[in-house]
């Protein structure tokens, strides 16, 4: 059966209305929330640190290469790295990476529960399965994303500070001066707003694809791929929208 774009939109919002319904027993949801913060958030810390250090280092070298002009002060390398991390990499790129890691995890977990009748089992017990399974994931990811963002900015800058002097394109004092130049605190506010929106997308869209999967293991795999692709497109769309609304 061919299902249109509007069908998915309608069903997505219908699912969200179930997700945000009143919980059967708040205590159970709180317990689930802590498990999800650990599973989806804390388990992502290492990958965020590693990626951020490398990207920070790479950006520093690239900025040094692009600004290799005696008229430009070397401090611009630190400034460029900082602003790229603050405005785009640590929020948007991180969200795209997390869509792959967290998103596919959510789709495959919920999808497997669907095809093995675990969701039916919850429904028959009288549990609102959409709310019990998805609500703690959304809250956990939305809660953890700003922390991952801040961590990513810190380790990205650290990566730049280690790499720049190591390859001889900038000194540590120049880099530190650079990352303090023309600093606008609003950039952080703007990026945290983006993080909250991206966190919601990274958790709710893959949950939708997992919750309505039909078939077996093959379909769960296909749903995971679809979830990641669609989440990435939505992240980029909302990035554009939010940048237009909040930054220009």
């Amino acid at each position: 059966m061919r299902m249109g774009f509007f069908f998915h939109i309608g069903r997505y919002f219908s699912m969200l209305s179930k997700v945000f319904a009143r919980p059967e027993k708040a205590k159970m949801y709180v317990r689930q929330l802590f498990l999800e913060i650990d599973n989806l958030g804390v388990n992502s810390v290492w990958i965020v640190i590693i990626i951020s250090i490398f990207i920070g280092g790479i950006m520093t070298i690239q900025f040094a290469h692009a600004l290799a002009n005696p008229l430009y002060p070397n401090e611009l390398v630190g400034l460029g790295t900082r602003d790229t991390l603050l405005l785009e990499f640590s929020s948007t790129m991180l969200a795209l990476i997390m869509a792959g890691k967290i998103g596919s995890n959510i789709t495959s977990e919920i999808g497997t529960m669907r095809v093995t009748e675990q969701i039916d089992s919850l429904e028959i017990m009288g549990v609102n399965s959409a709310s019990y399974l998805i609500f703690p994931k959304i809250v956990a990811v939305v809660f953890i994303f700003p922390f991952l963002y801040i961590m990513s900015v810190f380790f990205g800058l650290l990566g730049g500070m280690l790499t720049g002097p190591l390859v001889g394109v900038v000194t540590i004092p120049q880099y530190i001066d650079g990352i303090q130049w023309l600093f606008y605190p609003y950039y952080i506010t703007f990026s945290i707003i983006k993080c909250l929106v991206f966190g919601f997308l990274v958790s709710s869209v893959p949950a939708y694809f997992g919750y309505y999967v039909q078939g077996g293991a093959l379909e769960v795999g296909k749903a995971s791929t679809k979830a990641v692709v669609n989440t990435n497109i939505l992240i980029l769309f909302f990035d554009l929208l939010l940048t237009r609304l909040l930054l220009t």
Partner: protein, 251 residues
């Protein structure tokens, strides 16, 4: 007791259930049998309220499922236990946690009371205490079914539904599961409905057997009557196995 009155159900114009009426009695193992695609699962899910029926009534004692509000349906579901074909145990929780889940979700029992109830249910299905901390992936198929039964009876249900509880099990384990379901049905005086196409189950515990074919009720009787039903479609279903056919002819 569950009473089904003249229910019909169609999907996209395809009539899957046609005017089925049957009474499932309390304290008995009521079996629904039929070929694959005959409408057994749709009937079971309709009785459970997972599918909305097009016509007819479904009575749980004196409560009509069709006219129930969402709140009333939720209340009814707390009186229902269900054993799924694959067990449907929660992968991320161990054996003890699976049986404890409905108690955590729907009761205000204290911790020790819950532990006592979990032990009571698992003892009833002969699960050793050493297995309490194991995860579903670490136990056999037969054990998974027994844990699923323990979870289904945790809230002391009035109604027990089993969807092909023996699928994927060897004949000996199947018999153990059948006998277990029957014993629990008698002990807790539940109304039990089992969806199966396993003839061994029919012979073993078929106190009341409903045979459906192409969505229609074909025959109702007991395991003692089934071999001499005189119904051609039922005979074709039962004696599809050559050995049974030869036994019927007395060879």
């Amino acid at each position: 007791m569950i009473e089904v009155k003249n229910i019909s159900k169609a999907f996209d114009g395809n009539q899957v259930l046609k005017d089925i009426s049957i009474t499932f009695e309390r304290g008995k193992t009521n079996l629904i049998i039929g070929r694959s695609g005959s409408g057994k699962t749709v009937l079971l899910k309709s009785i459970l309220g997972l599918f909305d029926i097009d016509e007819g009534e479904i009575w749980y004692n004196d409560r009509n499922l069709v006219q129930m509000s969402n709140k009333e349906r939720k209340l009814l579901r707390s009186e229902i236990g269900m054993v799924f074909q694959g067990g449907a145990l929660f992968d991320s929780v161990n054996v003890e946690g699976n049986v404890r889940f409905p108690l955590d979700m729907f009761t205000n029992m204290s911790g020790p009371e819950k532990i006592k109830r979990v032990q009571f249910c698992l003892d009833h299905v002969n699960i050793d205490r050493q297995a309490y901390k194991l995860y579903p992936s670490e136990i056999s198929g037969g054990m998974q079914k027994r844990v699923a039964i323990a979870r289904a009876i945790a809230l002391n249900p009035k109604y027990l539904f089993c969807d092909e509880p023996n699928s994927g099990l060897d004949p000996e384990t199947s018999t153990v599961i059948d006998q277990l379901i029957q014993a629990l049905t008698k002990e807790f005086q539940m109304t039990t409905i089992i969806n199966t196409h396993d003839m061994n189950s029919v012979i073993e515990i078929g106190e009341s057997v409903l045979f459906i074919s192409k969505g229609e009720k074909e025959w109702v009787g007991t395991n003692r009557e089934i071999l001499d039903s005189g119904n051609q479609k039922l005979d074709d279903f039962i004696f599809a196995n050559k050995l049974y056919a030869q036994m019927k002819k007395g060879k």
